[in-house]
């Protein structure tokens, strides 16, 4: 085998079948199954591996045979860069490497100790990491979609390939939320619903794009860390704020250059001269009369229907939201800006003698502010959090007295990570964890035909604490031992993540 001196950090050893990750196999003649993990479509006999060495046929089931993923802290050499200084050992004594749960396998039934219980030293403290893959029926993905475009009514069913896989949940400022997956769809509906839900969850968790359809709403394509695509249109910017907030932010910069500004927004459309911000600048009334329902001065609800036009409404012509002008107040020559909350739509008008707004070239100072609205919009993204409950039998792989593990997690004596990514542990009972899938390596999630999702999870704690809570101390192995004897794949640690082996307390 050859290696460059800057040893490739992705290495692969031939794996022993150790991982319980399965997909429903497509039955072939005799004992072969067809792998559908890549276009090669290998037909694999029982006990063999496909061309990639990643998937194999174990007792008629297609299983992922990836060796366990070990993570190395970036910027650290595992062997000295100078060949003369190398003693031939593949792992430096205090090399900061972390055995992750990705492809670690499970030891079902749960009373068996977890696949890896690894001892290492960090800053002079003996630490233990219990590494496993959990099989989660109770789990879901929460998807945050940065858009004001109308996605669908709250509580509407979200479908994938025609099956119900989740629902639209509460909207938050600037973003809309979907809850996808969960035990109800996985095992509570038809067989197909469960299978489609499981596939969707696995793909979403593994950083792939998925197509969704919301009942009575939009068609979406979402992928973790990528702009959402709503009805075929890629969303680029998050709105700077609602229409009223936009007025509040930019009022002073428009002042003197425009006589009226309307910020079109599906939620709250703002009118500068009537808004508190305009009043503070002593702006005279313009005589504009807006459609919609007035909330407080200068703030209007429901000027149009939700849609994919200006500011998340369905309008294409912004003038359609103006009912008219008060002839006693409005005057010919009045300068009007209409703009959306992202700056993507903007038009400059001047009132003619009949008090009808006529489009006109936008003056430079106004254009500057419109551009600034755009600059202040953050890129619109879809982001995906995995939410799973690890409070059940999985704990038995860690300790003989599971409640002690739960308490130690709650007392912050045990750190929980998923594929090395920091997990937020939701307060209250159980061990309900929430993780940003983008902080986990791509391909961390698998599934079993139950159907249920397979996700990596690691518990890291001080060795003395582990022994105290009834851990499987006789199964602890040194990191060097795992490194030398277990097939593994080395990847770089996600540098945005805190290093999980840092001692607690």
């Amino acid at each position: 085998m050859s290696a460059s001196p800057d040893t490739p950090s992705v290495t692969s050893d031939t794996a022993e079948p150790s991982v319980v990750k399965a997909r429903a196999p497509e039955k072939m003649a005799s004992n072969k199954i067809q792998c559908d993990a890549c276009p090669v479509l290998c037909q694999i006999s029982e006990g063999r591996l496909g061309a990639c060495d990643r998937w194999g046929n174990v007792e008629g089931q297609l299983r992922r045979m990836d060796p366990v993923v070990i993570m190395k802290r970036p910027g650290v050499d595992l062997v000295p860069a100078d060949p003369a200084a190398w003693d031939g050992r593949l792992l430096h004594q205090d090399a900061p490497v972390f055995v992750s749960g990705v492809a670690s396998g499970t030891t079902y039934p749960d009373y068996k100790p977890a696949p890896f219980i690894v001892a290492s030293r960090a800053e002079g403290v003996d630490m233990v990491t219990v590494v496993t893959e959990g099989i989660f029926s109770y789990c879901s993905f929460k998807v945050k979609i940065d858009t004001d475009r109308y996605l669908g009514p709250e509580q509407a069913t979200v479908r994938h390939q025609g099956e119900a896989v989740g629902h639209v949940t509460t909207i938050e400022y600037g973003s809309q939320f979907l809850s996808l997956g969960g035990v109800h769809h996985l095992t509570g509906g038809s067989k197909r619903e469960g299978r489609i839900t499981c596939e969707l969850m696995e793909r979403l968790g593994n950083h792939h794009a998925v197509d969704l359809e919301i009942e009575g709403g939009a068609r979406l394509t979402v992928q973790a860390g990528r702009p959402p695509i709503v009805n075929g249109v890629e969303e680029r910017r998050m709105r700077v704020g609602c229409g009223s907030a936009t007025i509040g932010i930019f009022a002073k910069q428009w002042f003197g250059h425009a006589d009226e500004v309307v910020v079109v927004d599906d939620h709250i459309t703002g009118v500068l001269s009537e808004h508190q911000a305009g009043k503070c600048l002593d702006m005279p009334p313009s005589g504009i009369r807006l459609r919609g329902r007035k909330s407080t001065p200068g703030r209007y609800f429901q000027v149009a229907n939700p849609g994919t036009g200006w500011g998340g409404t369905d309008i294409q012509d912004p003038l359609s939201i103006i009912e008219g002008w008060d002839p006693k107040v409005a005057r010919p020559g009045l300068r009007l800006l209409m703009v959306s909350t992202t700056g993507e739509h903007a038009q400059w008008y001047v009132l003619d003698d009949a008090l009808v707004p006529q489009p006109a070239p936008m003056p430079a100072p106004i254009e500057t502010v419109v551009e600034r609205i755009g600059e202040n919009c953050e890129p619109a993204l879809a982001t995906v959090l995995f939410l799973g409950g690890a409070g059940g039998s999985l704990r038995a792989g860690v300790t003989e007295n599971p409640i002690l593990l739960t308490r130690s997690v709650k007392d912050l004596l045990t750190r929980v990570t998923c594929g090395g990514a920091p997990a937020y542990v939701w307060p209250g009972g159980g061990i309900t964890v929430m993780v940003d899938v983008l902080r986990m390596p791509a391909g961390s999630f698998g599934s079993v035909p139950t159907p249920a999702i397979v996700a990596p999870i690691e518990f890291t704690l001080r060795r003395d604490d582990y022994e105290r809570l009834g851990g499987h101390a006789d199964r602890i192995r040194r990191i060097e031992d795992v490194w030398a004897n277990d097939p593994h794949r080395l990847i770089e640690w996600g540098s945005d993540n805190p290093w999980p082996l840092e001692p607690l307390r």
């Binding site: 085998m1 050859s2 290696a3 460059s4 001196p5 800057d6 490739p8 950090s9 992705v10 692969s12 050893d13 031939t14 072969k32 559908d36 993990a37 890549c38 276009p39 090669v40 479509l41 290998c42 037909q43 694999i44 006999s45 063999r48 591996l49 496909g50 061309a51 990639c52 060495d53 970036p74 910027g75 060949p83 003369a84 190398w86 003693d87 031939g88 593949l90 793909r203 950083h207 792939h208 794009a209 390596p441 791509a442 391909g443 990847i491 770089e492 640690w493 540098s495």
Partner: protein, 309 residues
């Protein structure tokens, strides 16, 4: 088409890229002007997209024994590289399939994206088969580990731009691909990665001897759909008699020398049971041995275009 089949990529913290799809794993590094390197990486990613699906569409032909006239009806750019690299062996009447050069050909196909002003050096490492881009005056070093099960930096290669050599490949029975021979590793340096890949495979097949300690099984029993059919491939090598090691090494070395004299390759390093054979077209290219843990291994500085095309 299943959309889960799309290639994936991840940036490593030192700026290198990892591209993966199905059985293809690439680690890619580039040095030079940052903008030029980034543009080359993006071009490479775009070029990578259809690679596997195109290969798969012609897989049945590529897995079939290559006719001695090279007449395979394949049109894919990678497939054509594979055929070209394997053709010299088919012409000799040897059994070979175009798959012998698949890894190197993929690397060569993509390294073209880095032939851009501002990119000083670049490499694409496809599971040990490496394609290089070197601007004049640049060089590239590689360490060779002879046996993954007893890892040590066994040899040290340096490839200079003037040599015209742009490919390194390693083969052996212990790696992912199957071998008819018993070499722990055969590392070949050639004008491109495809040529090195095909040669390493064939040389590794020639590193062989009759010895009861060698266990062989039909390729079809080891891996489904193997392009080697029922040919016996090595699955285990027990303790070999010293004379067996010497015989196998000299058989492999003799064959490698023929390839050097036919200008198909420039250099070959063969490792078997801790012993080495080295074949080099240029005797003056040998440089003093680098002091490593096992200093008996050779070092090479490759600066002459020994393997002319």
């Amino acid at each position: 088409m299943n959309s889960a089949w799309q290639p994936v990529r991840a940036r490593l913290s030192d700026g290198r890229w990892h591209f993966q799809q199905g059985p293809i794993d690439l680690v890619i590094g580039a040095e030079g002007e940052p903008a030029a390197c980034e543009a080359a990486h993006e071009a490479c990613w775009a070029r990578f997209q259809p690679v596997l699906t195109t290969l798969v569409s012609e897989l049945a032909w590529l897995r079939a024994p290559l006719p001695s006239d090279g007449s395979l009806p394949v049109t894919g750019p990678v497939a054509q590289r594979m055929v070209d690299a394997c053709l010299p062996y088919a012409r000799q009447g040897l059994f070979i399939t175009a798959m012998a050069a698949v890894a190197g050909s993929v690397a060569d196909h993509l390294i073209a994206c880095y032939h851009q002003p501002g990119v000083r050096r670049a490499y694409i490492n496809n599971g040990g088969d490496i394609a290089l881009h070197l601007e004049p005056g640049e060089s590239w070093r590689a360490g060779v580990v002879g046996n993954v099960e007893a890892p040590a930096l066994d040899a040290d290669l340096e490839i200079r731009a003037e040599s015209g050599l742009r490919g390194i490949a390693t083969s052996g029975w212990r790696g992912r691909s199957l071998s008819l021979g018993i070499a722990d590793s055969v590392t070949v340096v050639a004008r491109d990665a495809a040529a090195a890949d095909a040669a390493a495979t064939i040389i590794a097949n020639h590193v062989d001897v009759m010895d009861g300690a060698i266990v062989r099984r039909p390729a079809s029993e080891v891996r489904d759909g193997s392009d080697l059919g029922d040919l016996p491939v090595t699955v285990a090598v027990g303790v070999l008699a010293p004379e067996s090691v010497a015989l196998a090494l000299s058989a492999g070395g003799a064959y490698a020398r023929r390839l050097v004299s036919r200008k198909l390759i420039s250099h070959a390093l063969i490792s078997l049971c801790g012993r080495w054979a080295q074949v080099s077209g240029d005797r003056t290219a040998r440089v003093p041995v680098q002091q490593t843990a096992r200093s008996h291994a050779p070092s090479l500085a490759l600066d002459r275009p020994e393997a002319a095309h």
